[in-house]
Symmetry: D2
Subunit: 236 residues, 4 copies
């Protein structure tokens, strides 16, 4: 399985705390723990040519992980269009945290993906589908002491399966992990992962991302989605 | 529109606080505020003959509201079977609070409908589908100071639409209001409504139940669901 | 209820058969039978200024009906963006036939909306959710003697409710009528309605479109979908 | 992975054509081609003690395949209850053809599972989710020359994912392969497989059943589904 971790890589250069927490960038950190699995991992960032997402690389990718925040608008529409096409043709996609507002995720969901937010909340994650492959090895509940609160209403279409729901100490609730399918592509959104917090260091968060990559891996790659004139097959 | 409010009517006779809060029984109280709408309301209770749910009454009912708790096992299987059949043929159903464990709801969901619980929690309800007809007139969030906590995981099939989600001060979350369809019947489950609490006196809770009754009202009643040998319609 | 029927109005000017079948345009014909209901109907077409879809008109519209085919690319992106926003904020949308490939529907679905097609097929529509409000008054099955075949696979996300499925004499099947929700907007797609066929003259097709408009009508209009920084409501 | 193929094994003893087509019984035939995979297969039939479905066997089973028709009523309720419990706790279930009317499937769906039927139809299966693991290796469409027609409306809850849809030469359509989840159990229903037809000899049908068994295999087995009194985890 081949995974490409995409990260805008902006905060890492500008916020000392982020540099300190994730010296190789969020992409490097994510790639690091994914490599513990039987997975071939590449990274790609906004400052690379074509955002590091060439046709050649995508053709050779089973699942993309997406982290973005401050630079959503800097991703060219043509890149978004291309990645979107790969997802529809079967490439898996795991969108993390503030990636909810990426052009790519909004294009796939068809909605604003707006939500409530507040820094530095206490989050309790609940596993509500314990037999889903993405929940393998995850306890019924676990705590992230400091994470950005994302709260409902979350403007996304009804998920196919809501796997995780989160409680926040300020009174909010959130569908924090859920799946959808668009075209032939399997998509998992997961809310933890703020750049100034340590959620990606949490072993359950790592396990969920590893599971998600496996779940999103396509059975068939680059399935054509055509609109053919179709001669009658029966009765004539 | 004709509504039949069913209540087991047990706690009302045994727990002084319940008698005091709901002197005419939970069924009487629910019927009372439903009558403010353009709705014809009947009540039926466990201690009546055939649980007050005769074929004649059900034939003349658009929507049943169900409240039960201590007496789920006292409802005869034949009554459950009959009401289940009416739901499949189009009758609406609104299941309140501890009705989640009624034979009827479990039969319709196909699961245990198990959940976590604890008395006397602070609950904050969130409206996550503000344009759903059941959410008409309901604010983004409102508080029930004292309600029984029901917590995830809630063993029900993925809802068709999750309209309300709740936060509890003990760290729990819950899908507290959602719809499903079984056969031709529209079903709404709503979590608030513990017998020793005052949630049914909350104007938003009342509005939600009134909205739900209207939403669950069938377009057509007593639709046959058959299994016919069907001659070919084409090509022969 | 206020409905705006949008039509590109191209074939009506170019294909004599279409002019003959629908002398007032498809929009005029659709508006004609909608007026039989208790509905206020406007029409809007591609050749009007701003496609006839100004902010003022949309603000005053409950449901838009959309028919397009040859001119999808002629609808400016800003118009699509504006109508998309109104749908997310609660406006209903009924997409007919070749509107599946409109920029608007693709943007809402997040997919290509590709499908198979062939002119002049025999179509048999099946009602698979007889109690859905959109199916009120529709028989279990009815035939359209000559309609354009649209066949699976249809690249759309899993519908919220599939209400109609169609059989075609060439061996194809299609999910021909289904609902989705995006943001606060209720969306119904319905496949019959090719410009050179008479499906819009079929009383069941007319009844389905009338029902759909009523179903898609919002409970609340112009609901804001925001992304606020939210102060804690509890515990602090 | 351990699979138990359950078959009522009635027609095999009574109808010479069935004996001839499936000399080792439908269960033997299904077990035969499943063994080609990396799967450990057992069979169990109605005439065995406890229908061959003891607690010990189910505890050691990942996925049950179910074929029944004439003997649905002969399966004791306690056996149904036990298998139902195993499914909710995570065991996978693949229900074939006339198993739609088994007590088990009806109990899981919560509906009558009624449908239309007619012997000896020409069926064309369409793959509408080509990237679903159950569709791996299956072409866009394939034909079963002679199969029992099952037609809509099929009284089941909206599927989680409809993977296959079928066309029949008599004018009918059917959702012929779809998934659902109940509790922790993954369920796949597949319509081909009439006892007097040769569908189980079709390589695509075999591939679908093999894929389905793999898809339904639980991540965790025997997950408890409890209803605990839960002390507060936060804030007290």
């Amino acid at each position: 399985m081949k995974v490409t971790v995409w990260n805008e890589n902006i905060h890492e250069k500008e916020i000392p705390l982020v540099t300190e927490l994730y010296p190789g960038g969020l992409h490097g950190y994510l790639a690091g723990f994914l490599k513990e699995e039987d997975v071939e991992v590449r990274t790609a960032t906004l400052d690379e040519s074509e955002c590091g997402l060439t046709d050649e690389i995508l053709k050779d990718t089973d699942v993309v992980i997406w982290w973005g925040h401050a630079g959503h608008h800097l991703v060219p529409d043509e890149i978004v269009e291309m990645v979107h096409g790969y997802v529809l043709r079967g490439m898996g996609l795991v969108v993390l945290h503030s990636g909810h507002h990426s052009k790519l995720f909004r294009k796939l969901m068809g909605t604003t993906c707006n939500l409530k937010w507040r820094d530095d909340a206490r989050e309790r994650v609940w596993t509500i589908k314990p037999n889903h492959p993405i929940a393998a090895g995850i306890p019924e509940t676990f705590v992230l002491d400091c994470e950005e609160m994302y709260g409902e209403p979350f403007d996304v279409p009804e998920p196919q399966e809501t796997i995780f729901m989160s409680w926040f100490n300020g009174g909010e609730v959130f569908r924090s992990g859920f799946t959808n399918v668009r075209g032939n592509g399997r998509i998992f959104y997961f809310q933890p992962g703020h750049e100034t917090n340590r959620s990606f260091q949490n072993p359950y968060v790592q396990r969920i991302i590893k599971n998600a990559v496996r779940w999103a891996c396509p059975v068939r790659k680059n399935l054509a989605i055509e609109c053919p004139h179709a001669p009658a097959l029966e009765g004539e």
